[in-house]
């Protein structure tokens, strides 16, 4: 259910602008990996290269290798759609489909990809909503629009929608930045639970959050505005936050810049 990601020598471009340069790292299965770093340093861009969402933007392209358990996601014959089916994503702002009910939102991934029987679908929806800690709050109003939930509930609905298609990896792009502390806590608890089944990668601006939830942390930075972002350091989270080997990491974590 959970796979390892190996990235080597990855560059990502927006048209002529190089956004990240020469990123190499290994993301371990059944663990949470956090990306931290100042705004505009390419964390989200890098995250989006992992499930080939980067290339959705016109003019954007990627060079380098991303291996999912040894299989190159950027090989010429690979179908991007199938990559995204295996590597799910949760976005910064909750984005449930406004025309669909709560039930349909969770079922969307399966329903838009083919046929699933009604009883099977009921099971998947319940299981996913339970997995996202949302079932008890919405079980009586599954047919109501997903957009009617609160922000934190919407974000958990999006997580339920992402895990309903049973991906190997779950990418989360600042999933809590639009949420209040209580909803944030709910999602952090959820991540700790999901870690048993998924490889989780999370981008966050909140260093306490990275320290709380992640097993490993990568620090991204860029030399100056307009230059491409790079990985400065990656290590066990406990080491990164107590005894980083790079001066820049320490400066960023202690709040001396960024």
């Amino acid at each position: 259910m959970s796979k390892q990601i190996q990235v080597s020598g990855l560059d990502a471009y927006y048209g002529g602008h190089k956004a990240i340069e020469d990123v190499s790292m290994t993301i371990e299965p059944r663990s949470i990996t956090a990306f931290i770093g100042p705004s505009g340093c390419g964390k989200s861009t890098f995250l989006r290269t992992l499930n080939r969402m980067h290339e959705v933007i016109p003019g954007a392209r990627v060079e380098g290798k991303v291996l999912l358990d040894g299989e190159d996601l950027y090989a010429a014959t690979v179908e991007p759609v199938s990559v995204r089916r295996m590597i799910g994503m949760v976005f910064q702002r909750p984005n449930p489909f406004p025309t669909m009910s709560i039930y349909e939102n969770v079922a969307a991934g399966l329903r838009l990809n083919g046929r699933t029987s009604k009883s099977e679908m009921d099971g998947v929806v319940e299981e996913s909503l339970k997995g996202a800690n949302l079932w008890n709050e919405v079980k009586d109003r599954l047919s109501k629009p997903g957009a009617g939930l609160s922000g934190g509930q919407q974000q958990r609905l999006c997580i339920a929608r992402a895990i309903a298609v049973k991906p190997q990896v779950l990418l989360m792009d600042e999933p809590c930045s639009a949420l209040d502390p209580i909803s944030t806590l709910a999602i952090e608890d959820l991540m700790a639970k999901l870690k048993d089944d998924f490889t989780i990668v999370i981008v966050t601006h909140n260093m306490q959050q990275a320290a709380r939830v992640s097993d490993r942390t990568a620090f991204f930075n860029l030399a100056e505005q307009g230059k491409p972002g790079k990985v400065i350091e990656m290590d066990e989270t406990s080491r990164m936050f107590t005894n980083p080997s790079e001066k820049a990491t320490e400066d960023y974590i202690t709040g001396r810049f960024g």
């Binding site: 969402m53 995204r84 984005n95 406004p98 991934g109």
Partner: protein, 291 residues
């Protein structure tokens, strides 16, 4: 250091004046609308009866009262329906290409430009084009279908423009959410983007329908006209409500003038009915329902 300031009398007066001007402009804008409606309703009600709605003008003498616009109502409904069947799919697909696939490339800019050009085509030119090409060059008979083709030329740019705007309003977030679930692009468009934009697209199509339902000139050149009922839009001259009004209003008798007013009233009612139905469909499909 700044202090809390109070609103000066000068600003208060200016505020009142601008407010007054806005109300005045609103009243001026409403006057023609209300007066047109009033005139059409008060003059049209006289002949708005069952005979008008169920009879044609066949065998109605020049000075006779009675007669009706059944043939014209049938014609208008069929022509507008056919025009929609032609122009809505083409227009919608064009809009989808422009928004989802064009990416501002050369082809999409060229299409955009020609859509703008089409918006400016006078309706009589659309009629002349169909007359010259379909009827004179290809030798086809006058028919409701020829009229529908002329109307669809007029509808298409409106449909493209309004659908394009509505599709652009769909947040990129939703497309990305769908892609991230491993849904292919075309299914994302069909299942996520189009339903989200549906209400707006329907409104746009209805505006286009309302615009062409009242066109007279292109029909005059392509549908010709007749006093008899012709249910077949593909063969032989038909009638349309605008043509009926045009024809009756040109006659010298009061009975004909009355029929013209009632024809105009019927046309307005039909367009309103279309709008109502479209709004019902949009409401029925809208996510706000059931909240």
């Amino acid at each position: 250091m700044t202090t809390i300031q109070h609103i000066s009398t000068g600003r208060r007066v200016k505020d009142r004046m601008v407010q007054g001007l806005v109300y005045l402009a609103f009243a001026l804008a409403v006057v023609p609308l209300v007066s047109v409606l009033w005139l059409v309703i008060s003059n049209g009600l006289a002949r708005f009866d069952m005979e008008f709605l169920t009879h044609s003008m066949r065998n109605i003498g020049a000075r006779d009262a009675g007669g009706g616009a059944y043939h014209a109502i049938i014609g208008t409904l069929e022509q507008v329906l056919l025009a929609s069947v032609i122009s809505v799919p083409i227009g919608l697909l064009t809009a989808i290409y422009l928004v989802e696939y064009g990416n501002g490339g050369r082809l999409s800019r060229a299409i955009s430009f020609f859509v703008d050009v089409m918006t400016g085509i006078p309706s009589v030119v659309a009629g002349l084009f169909v007359l010259a090409f379909w009827i004179l060059f290809l030798g086809m008979p006058y028919s409701g279908f020829a009229g529908a083709m002329a109307l669809s030329i007029l509808m298409m740019p409106t449909v493209v423009r309004s659908a394009e705007e509505m599709l652009r309003l769909v947040p990129a977030d939703l497309r990305e959410a769908s892609y991230a679930l491993g849904v292919p692009k075309w299914r994302t468009i069909v299942k996520v983007v189009l339903p989200t934009a549906l209400t707006g697209i329907i409104t746009g199509v209805m505006l286009a329908v309302a615009r062409v339902a009242g066109e007279t000139a292109p029909l005059l050149l392509t549908v010709f006209f007749t006093d008899s009922i012709n249910n077949d839009p593909f063969n032989g001259p038909q009638m349309g409500l605008p043509l009926f009004v045009f024809d009756q209003a040109a006659r010298p008798n009061d009975t004909a003038i009355d029929r013209a007013w009632t024809g105009a009233l019927t046309l307005i009612l039909i367009v309103m009915l279309f709008n109502l139905v479209a709004r019902l469909i949009a409401w029925w499909r809208s996510p706000a329902r059931g909240r």
